[in-house]
């Protein structure tokens, strides 16, 4: 049985498509039956529509990529009206990923999503690609505590808080988010990195820094997931560089209830299916009946 329960929501399997890499699911339905997924986390939403960042938005690096999309999205209202109805029909858990730059915006957006049919609210306090304050939330535990507390009051949806690997102290951050009312923790978002175009002698990105994702970050992401699993009691959804079923099992053995697959979706559109089938085959081979048997087993 690959099914898992994340703060009261039953996922048919632990594989969730990560925010920002899977749109609202529609683009991928041409390539595979997206109902195979445990869940889909939407493109990061903000209260108002956003055009995102100017300039180059993507740069490939060794075993990874850097992005500076900057939360381009239609806004929560348009999401609820235009995208959510389709997502509902996909027969998989719908996770709304919410970003922002002020507490007020987060709260107002959360209130709107609270009334919608989403299954889980994933609070992104960690987007490195938004200039105005977005990052600070994800770095200092005390700031995170405040924002999670306010959003908690605004919604009765299961609240999953997504942490940044750039946090000063990832465990302290996770503990504070839980104290403030998080029902689950997901991590990691992208690592802050930079790239320089040596021909033009300028940073590749207008914002100078951008977010690094993909296989390159896996060892660090796995370490953070392991540490967070050791210090909070809520379910943890691990991610960062997962591209094979072996990677997924590593995150589960480190203590994750579920995992998210981001950048790897760009390698092969149905890679999540390969990962799901790989997990099933591994469980069969090793005689594992439920993922609980191996969850956090390395502790």
């Amino acid at each position: 049985m690959t099914s898992v329960n994340i703060c009261g929501v039953e996922l048919k399997n632990p594989v969730i498509a990560a925010s920002g890499t899977f749109g609202f699911g529609g683009e991928f339905s041409d390539y595979f039956d997206v109902s195979r997924l445990g869940g889909i986390s939407s493109k990061g939403l903000t209260l108002a529509p956003k055009q995102g960042n100017d300039g180059v938005r993507m740069h490939e690096v060794r075993s990874g990529m850097m992005n500076s999309v900057g939360l381009q999205n239609p806004g929560v209202e348009a999401f609820i009206k235009d995208e959510l109805p389709q997502m509902e029909k996909m027969n998989t858990a719908v996770i709304a990923n919410l970003g922002g730059s002020t507490i007020e915006d987060y709260v107002r957006a959360a209130v709107m999503l609270d009334k919608s049919s989403i299954d889980i609210l994933e609070l992104n306090i960690s987007c490195p690609n938004v200039k105005e304050g977005g990052m600070a939330f994800g770095i200092k535990s005390c700031v995170a505590y405040e924002i999670v507390g306010e959003v908690r009051k605004a919604t009765s949806k299961p609240l999953m808080v997504k942490l940044s690997p750039n946090a000063e102290d990832i465990c302290d951050m996770a503990i504070n988010c839980c104290k403030a009312g998080a029902d689950a923790i997901s991590l990691v978002n992208t690592f802050k990195g930079i790239a320089i175009d040596i021909k033009s002698r300028k940073p590749v990105f207008e914002n100078i820094s951008a977010g690094v994702s993909g296989p390159a970050i896996k060892p660090m992401a796995l370490r953070m997931v392991y540490e967070v699993c050791g210090c909070v009691d809520v379910p943890v959804v691990g991610m960062g560089g997962i591209s094979t079923y072996e990677d997924a099992i590593e995150f589960i053995m480190a203590g994750s209830h579920a995992i998210q697959v981001g950048t790897a979706n760009f390698i092969k559109p149905d890679i999540c299916v390969d990962i799901i089938e790989g997990i099933e085959a591994f469980m069969a081979r090793e005689g594992i009946k439920s993922l609980e048997e191996i969850r956090g087993i390395i502790k």
Binding site: F22, G23, D30, N67, V69, P269
Partner: protein, 249 residues
């Protein structure tokens, strides 16, 4: 014309000019000119697949023309018959053939001629279309096999004057003589030609090359600024009307 992810085998891969190769892949594909595929001929590294336009299609194979510029295209250049390659596509909007009527000018710069070849082939089968081809190169021309001898008007310019006029093709190109212009080449060339066409009041279609990750419209890294907001060049493009685009400089 539904897009798919397929694993296929190389039919042929040959060098046709300095750093330019022609790659054919076995299989039957239904493609619109101007569409592209995300190609991958490696396991793990580089991480992302590479977007390459369709240069030609026939019943048994699809052909790409590519310039070797970095890690991915270098791996392509080493492919041999029978090697594995995966293709995701066809992707993108492609050229709307219905828009291309009357006197149509195809203007290519360097490797930008790649998609124009297949467009030319399709257009020349249509009634009431008179196609001319204008191609600019740094040095030796390439990718004109189908066009040479068949196209009633073929203009070539090369920066080193080794063939045709000396200099940039767009300096020898007069938009006023055409009903519509199609351009594919370096961004700087396309933006200059857009201005020239705008001044002449002639509509122009261009194919934008942005760095891509997913290729299918999900990740939003490939956006172009348009008067109608940001558009994804992989899914809403790569073909845009010159008049829609907001180009920097």
């Amino acid at each position: 014309m539904k897009s798919k992810y397929v694993e296929a085998a190389v039919y042929k891969n040959e060098q046709i000019s300095d750093c330019v190769f022609r790659l054919s892949v076995k299989g039957s594909f239904d493609v619109k000119p101007g569409q592209f595929f995300m190609l991958r001929a490696w396991g793990q590294e580089p991480l992302l697949s590479r977007p390459i336009s369709v240069h030609d299609v026939d019943d048994e194979k699809i052909t790409f023309l590519y310039h070797v510029v970095g890690r991915g295209t270098q791996i392509f250049s080493k492919l041999r018959e029978g090697d594995d390659i995966s293709l995701l596509g066809p992707l993108g909007n492609g050229f709307e053939l219905d828009m291309l009527k009357g006197k149509v000018a195809l203007v290519g710069g360097g490797i930008g001629v790649a998609p124009l070849n297949y467009l030319y082939k399709k257009l020349s089968m249509n009634e009431g279309v008179e196609v001319s081809f204008h191609a600019g190169y740094r040095s030796q021309p390439f990718g004109l096999e189908c066009i040479q001898g068949s196209c009633s008007l073929l203009n070539i310019a090369t920066e080193d004057a080794c063939v045709g006029e000396k200099g940039y093709i767009i300096d020898y190109f007069e938009p006023k003589l055409y009903d519509i212009v199609v351009c594919c080449g370096p961004e700087i060339m396309m933006s200059k030609l857009i201005k020239k066409c705008e001044a002449a009041g002639v509509p122009i279609l261009v194919s934008m090359e942005k760095k891509m990750a997913c290729g299918i419209g999900a990740c939003l890294v490939c956006t172009c600024k348009t008067k109608d907001g940001n558009k994804r060049s992989c899914a809403d493009g790569p073909v845009f009307l010159g008049s829609e685009l907001i180009l920097n400089d």
